[in-house]
Symmetry: D2
């Protein structure tokens, strides 16, 4: 941590900061410039309630030097992590395609979709049973019943399954039926839920919050891992910006940024980020070319009659085309698909 004092800070105010830091058991290192004094802090900064310093006189600004996350930090864990999910995996050697409907509607439709996406190359099935919806009057999901259908469809096809959890009750149900827990964008900083999924061993797909910085997202992953569950996969699904041509703005650069900052696998969701099926294929190809470890894609046998997020779902035919166009890209990245 570095503390930048205001230009012409009074000597006694500089000394007050130094004293404050040293009282907290840390060392300081003074650097006096022509107009500005800078105080470097040496030692274990977790002892400091850093924000307190900001209130001391003549302090201009505090600059953190090291990230607050450790377990997810590639600086300390240089090798890429592979997360095993059911009988498949997400990591540096595979392109894992997760596909399925936004919401589970009934068992028959789910098995039907599962068979199709498997035939195209998907190794995981997605399907929401607990749906967080903006309006209380929208369809909220089949809940535990939906999870049972997920399990059935997984058994039937051999696909690993992932479904969203939204609270302790849904988490307790989900660990019984599915292979991976999804934390949705709206819950990325629901720290209670993060801690709960940190206490089970089921792998977690952690979606980026709608306006979360990459640092906040990595700190959210740190919550899960620090509770004991190392099986975390990150999922970029678009961020909120002023642009309305797409539902959200996919932050494609987040893929290489994350590859540098963390050892965790990274998945891209082109369906929620663009919000329209027309853009799903080109954006999926971009994500794979950029080095992501997998995709999460909405597929529905009849998008016009989907109970949730129809406009962004691919038909069977379009999903088939997409998978065919991904194959050579996966090859170029040395990823099995």
């Amino acid at each position: 941590m570095i503390i930048i004092m205001k230009p012409g800070a009074a000597r006694e105010n500089v000394q007050a900061v130094v004293k404050y830091i040293e009282e907290n058991g840390l060392k300081t290192h003074l650097s006096e410039g022509t107009t500005t004094t800078i105080i470097g802090v040496v030692g274990d900064k977790t002892r400091l309630t850093e924000c307190g310093i900001n209130s001391l006189k003549d302090v201009d600004r505090i600059v953190p030097v090291t990230e607050s996350y450790k377990l997810v930090n590639r600086k300390f864990h240089p090798d890429a992590t592979t997360v095993k999910v059911g009988n498949t995996e997400i990591g540096p050697h595979t392109l894992t395609v997760i596909a399925g409907p936004c919401a589970v509607e009934n068992e028959e439709m789910l098995v039907n979709i599962a068979r199709h996406v498997k035939a195209c190359g998907a190794t995981m099935l997605r399907g929401g049973a607990y749906k967080p919806r903006t309006s209380p009057y929208s369809f909220q999901g089949l809940e535990e019943e939906g999870l049972k259908y997920m399990q059935a469809a997984g058994k039937e096809t051999g696909l690993a399954t992932v479904s969203e959890v939204v609270d302790l009750a849904s988490l307790e149900a989900a660990v019984k039926y599915v292979d991976m827990l999804q934390i949705g964008a709206r819950n990325m900083q629901n720290f209670c839920l993060l801690k709960e999924v940190g206490r089970v061993k089921t792998p977690v797909l952690l979606k980026r919050g709608l306006s979360a910085t990459i640092d906040e997202w990595l700190n959210a992953a740190e919550y899960i891992i620090s509770e004991g569950n190392p099986n975390v996969v990150l999922c970029e699904r678009g961020i909120r910006t002023y642009e309305t041509a797409t539902r959200n703005t996919l932050d494609i650069s987040a893929v290489p940024v994350l590859k540098e900052k963390t050892h965790l696998p990274i998945i891209v969701d082109p369906s929620h980020s663009t919000g329209h099926y027309k853009y799903v294929t080109p954006v999926s190809k971009a994500a794979v070319a950029c080095g992501c470890d997998g995709l999460e894609i909405e597929v529905h046998h009849d998008p016009a009659r989907a109970m949730s997020d129809g406009p962004q779902s691919l038909t069977f035919e379009k999903f088939d085309e997409l998978c065919r166009s991904l194959r050579p890209l996966a090859d170029l990245e040395n990823k099995k698909f």
Copy 2:
């Protein structure tokens, strides 16, 4: 709901949309322009899974005509709501100042702060016992112990109390000890939690999500009220933008926009929105002049040693000055303070 077809849409595609809508028990109203056909939908739209339509051929776009929220909507409830909290109230006739520390640290400090803010004119005490923090390694709050101190400080001073809840456990504790439950920005779309606070009668202070639109925020309030708890107060606390001079960007225009769209009271939090004590006073004055029904302000006896959010806390002296400067502004707005 209006459906705008693409220019030159095929007649059979227009008919397919009409048929789809009528199959769902609604009526349509066709308007054929020189290049574009528009289909108005008449009837109860909640029967329609609206997003399905977007997948039909030649549909360009769907324009909602009415808001999805009803209970919070001023169009249907023109009179401003007053929410009673302990022995005070939040509504059109008062300027309710809620003040206190970001986090409850111990009972003595809390009672000390409570006495001071009461002397200045505050009628409510804030204090966090369950703290959602970006990093798992930051101070997480005193939990139930903190709530007990809140209760004690409330009894000691006669101030009504508000504290944040983050999950079912903290909610069950909080209803026993405090007069109002706060839902923080990160939980604004934690729909499970919204439903839970909707099932109690304790008033709720619902903070705006970091990147929530006003419509999403009102839908979140609708979740609470539709479960049976009508005692909701909204709190604008800044939104996330590209500007970094302040911690967030206070959306001051949200105050008159909300006054038009909803009958619920609206509070402004200048501490979290600006992130620095220097800006709290001018921004508080702006909020009152703009017509807000109250303020939530962080006050600490020794900001440099606060365990959370020190830089944005006012000292006793500064809070005193602030309250004095608010008095004539409250008078101009015919609000008791």
Copy 3:
């Protein structure tokens, strides 16, 4: 400037950075932490092409210590500036209300509006003659003819006048006819135009760019002043965010932030920031209570027939009410209005 090296940076890479800086005639100051080395740079940083350093090995990040703007910086010019415009002024002792139509439509309407706004307390008349419009097919303004009407209306009423310039030709015309030049949001970083207005003595009203940071805005003002024209007034007019309830999001906190960072006067434009006349009055009151030095407000005798920006224009009656509500607020701020 501080250079933060990566954790465990190689000694020779640290030395390479030190050498690079010293070759550029500056001194360095090394601070070696437990994991991280920090290099302080002492001396005149304008000699350094700072971005080059970022490419040197093991450099993690560069932290600027001082702002790049000097002439507009309050650290070096603590006293608030007053800018004289025609026979009025903008500065710490007045609340200057600038009012008038978005676009000049004809002389009669302009004189009519000018008389009315003067009667309510405005001391300046606004009116666009060169209109930057998103679409090439929208009304583009009366150009020089419009400026002549501005001059006539100014003479007739004694109001000082301000009108937007968009290039060298409009600038050459405007200096002949109006008392103040406006640089619009879209031209805030049109550096050629900034330099040109820096070469005349006519006061300049510099609007904030749609997504400009406060630092970029102050650097834009620095461009004007560094060319020799010190008469710059800043105008906050809302920034672009994801929220669509208002046309832009007024950054009210920018007022106190600017009061701290610069000595230049600051004006707020509630008309363009909100985009709707309904919100103009509450937002204007907020701006005055927050300490701004003036307001720029659109007024039209018949908003429904305005040729530009009708929905945000106040009628005569509403402008009259607004001015009456501002008076006690100006008094509280010790500002003449």
Copy 4:
């Protein structure tokens, strides 16, 4: 255009809107819902000063049905445009790589860089002679001298050349020396400059404004084409968001969105969007896989000593690697490179 009235709008207010529209020579089409009346407007809407309607009583909102841009609109010009630049072209059948330094520093360096990028597969040379810089104290470019070096380097290597213009003077110089004019992000809505480049025949590379919507960007292109210059190429270069891990956020989805909305070619600039050379290669690959028609990439023989934007420049070696990795991706897209 559709006008949505408020729920329960008075009959006379509906009639007033209808009358207003018909007075302007247009037809209306009434659609009365259970709570809401909607008025469709049929005919040539350019006759209407649309914003006026917003001020009429009981009008809730106006929904545009057709885009304001025509000449750039793919609905009316379905075939993709190919723009010829010097002896190369930008369009559907090629992947055009434009490479070179951010700023031209001297002739020798430029020819050196030009030779290298040509050997790797680039067919166009970029280099800034007039540099818009945030601070007036940063290096502003070699101006006409720099353009002469661009011409020399183009002749020497056979590369087509592109350089930024910032005002009429630089435009007049640039048409003499280079093959393509670049309009930078900060000037995307400098409508005077857009009209000027519309009056020459030299192709134009129009960068997206820092916070421009896709619609605003297409309207800016419409300005150029409507003045008579059809040779416009769009360049996505990242938009401003809250995320600071990259300099800007590349809006990768803009590529397929633009392919749908316009017939103009689209280029991606991974250097300015990410701001760091480390991310340029993965993001370039993403852009090509997504279907863009070209890339604009900063290359410098010695990034640490570049006079502008060093950190985002590729070395010769890295540019060589990048081009090799792009080749198979271009093949997959059936694009010559």
